[in-house]
Symmetry: C2
Subunit: 409 residues, 2 copies
């Protein structure tokens, strides 16, 4: 008998009918002889609705109370899914994150799982139950519920898989796998049958919304084989594995896919005096305010002065620009910014040993007449910041020039 952990996202449990469909899916897996732990997110737009309510009662809701509030979304889903399984005659029990032994630390709203105490889950499995665990939450050292931040249900599923030594972790979502690019933009995009964790994490960080990057990294760390599948389809999906298949993958693949992100804004400090410690003087105040900075570019020195540009999420743009203005002035410069930008990234482990991929990317965008605002590279990706309105065209061109639609799948 194998053990499988399944995770269903919010759109998979959006209505009573959806929940009954998930129960059907779980029931079929059980009939095949598997032991099952299922984690679910809150129903559809529940989290957004609760956050809106919070905004209506308070201008600046406390993170602890936000977590108390949001945790209820998943708690409703798990109870409803357990009921739907009972209705099919399947023994099932729902557990909140704290009941399931999910131990978290860190800040409210962005907790990190530090330990899974799987005794209660294991006992229920031994008693032949399907165990339904609320995703996205755990208990901190004060005995309070703490959420893992959005997308955290993926992390819950992978952490439980690791703690129980599950055979695999299945992430069900509204698309049926990972694609070489967003199929809504590139109709020729192909499903990627197998991908390495490092590529998947990079794609997730760079904009692929299918899976949370932290969950991918956790999976890689504990050797959990993750399958990304469609909630409403029966296809094989995408397998994320660092195991035996990886070598084959490394030799066969070059570029895994093109990902993009439209939630990008740029802030630039122009003509600031630089010296040792300048960068930390710029970025420490942003970090203190919890503003994540992504791409950072520093221009070369000119008359002892330099330009420093960085990207943030659009929601952080106004605050980041304000902070930057203050720092820039104190360093003899000034700040400016641009809000409607996007990022396009080419991701693939194959890039590691083959130079020229960055050049090919720049060429492609140049030929398309798309100006590149900023560039960032690492071992397995090249990212270009472009104007938001040009992102889709950039994705299509790159998908073509890297011949992703041609690939033998």
């Amino acid at each position: 008998m194998g053990l499988v952990v399944q995770k269903y996202g919010g759109s998979s449990v959006a209505t009573a009918e959806h929940i009954r469909a998930v129960a059907g899916r779980v029931s079929r897996a059980r009939e095949s002889g598997l032991d099952l732990v299922v984690t679910v997110s809150a129903m559809g737009k529940t989290t957004d609705r609760l956050l809106r309510l919070a905004g209506e009662v308070s201008r600046d809701p406390s993170p602890r109370e936000i977590d108390q509030l949001l945790a209820t979304g998943e708690e409703q889903s798990v109870a409803l899914l357990a009921m739907a399984l009972h209705d099919r005659g399947i023994p099932a029990a729902s557990l909140t994150g704290p009941q399931a032994g999910m131990t978290v630390a860190g800040r409210y709203g962005s907790g990190v799982i530090t330990e899974v105490r799987p005794e209660r889950i294991q006992k229920l499995i031994d008693g032949d139950h399907v165990v339904i665990v609320a995703g996205f939450q755990g208990m901190n050292s004060l005995g309070d519920v703490m959420t893992l931040g959005r997308g955290g249900s993926d992390t819950t599923a992978v952490a439980i898989s690791a703690a129980l030594g599950a055979d695999r972790c299945e992430i069900y979502t509204d698309v049926d796998g990972i694609y070489t690019a967003d199929p809504r933009i590139v109709p020729e995009a192909r499903r990627i049958p197998i991908i390495s964790p490092s590529e998947m994490a990079e794609m997730a960080w760079r904009g692929a919304k299918v899976m949370h990057p932290r969950a991918v990294e956790l999976g890689a760390l504990y050797g959990v084989e993750i399958h990304v599948k469609g909630s409403f389809s029966e296809g094989p999906g995408t397998v994320i594995t660092g195991g035996d298949d990886l070598e084959r993958l490394e030799t066969r693949e070059t570029v895994a896919g093109i990902v993009h992100d439209l939630d990008v804004a740029r802030v630039t400090l122009n003509g600031i005096r630089t010296g040792p410690g300048t960068l930390s003087r710029v970025f420490a105040p942003l970090a203190e305010r919890g503003i994540s900075v992504d791409v950072i570019v520093e221009s070369g020195l000119k008359d002892g002065k330099a330009d420093v540009a960085f990207t943030v999420r659009r929601g952080d743009f106004a605050e980041a620009r304000e902070v930057a203005e203050e720092i820039a002035v104190s360093l003899g410069g000034k700040a400016e910014g641009e809000e409607k930008l996007g990022k396009v990234s080419v991701v693939g482990t194959g890039m590691l040993n083959r130079p020229g991929y960055a050049a090919k990317m720049f060429d492609t965008l140049g030929e398309a007449g798309i100006p590149i605002r900023m560039v960032s590279t690492s071992e397995i990706q090249v990212t270009c910041v472009v104007r938001a309105e040009e992102v889709e065209e950039a994705v299509r061109r790159l998908h073509g020039s890297f011949e992703l639609e041609e690939r033998d799948v």
Copy 2:
């Protein structure tokens, strides 16, 4: 500094605007120098909405999962109220029932508070916080959340008042106190300024919806002074007390009020053989199914046979009748029933030492041409079962004949 426990019902926290209004009320109490613990119910129709969802995913949802599901309603309210207090600059912390140390036992859906471990509440009070506790729930010996059944938020508030030795427990509701009859039916009905716990409990059991009878009894047991007040008004409300004022009350009052209940159906077993143990043979199967029986009347023997009639809630009518049919047949009789009935009760400690109140009640209904189907009496109340359509007229007539509108208030 005094300590007051306040309880706000679902209609008092139905929207974000209502929650902000409650925060205003809590804030004024705090400004008067009080320490405060506040318990709240789920917002408006949340519980009904969740039960509907449960019905959509399962034909027969398990009680444990129903409790997991329903508990989230109160958990949302407490987090939102804490946020609304923060927004006014008031330190506040929300606690779920389990976090607040509410220990319960019994059956899911109708748990009974067995202990309050008030350490965490007390610590927060000592740290100058307003403590917001989710009503209607606690933790059972398995570590699971268990609800107290509908109306249980009142019980939560009274239990916390008892555990903390609060100066008083204020129950805020959508009416501004207890009335001599439902003012929607009897416009001349008067607010009762002070009432004994036994009268209040009797009125609550007999149909007064304002407060849960179990909470009244718990308050009496632990000597908690309860004030029933309007959420949206500033009046003095009704004080429920068994203290120094009681003697004054006993001598002054005769009948406290007229209450009614439209959720009544009757089942009768006709012509059954009776003997020792017959009644338990009739009622044990009903109790096993969780069907509450209220008024019971057994007719005198005739040829060794008797009629046994009892009332149940309308929701239990079909099942109760089915059970009754089976038993009646096995005892040589048959069962019949009537669904649309109501109860009218005259309640008052003054009745204790003064005979004739029952006679006066029967006279009044007789003069009004209202047939009495069943009668039940106890030391402080007389209840008549009549046809549902005649309940309102009965209440008006009784309110007049007992001169409740004339009373010096």
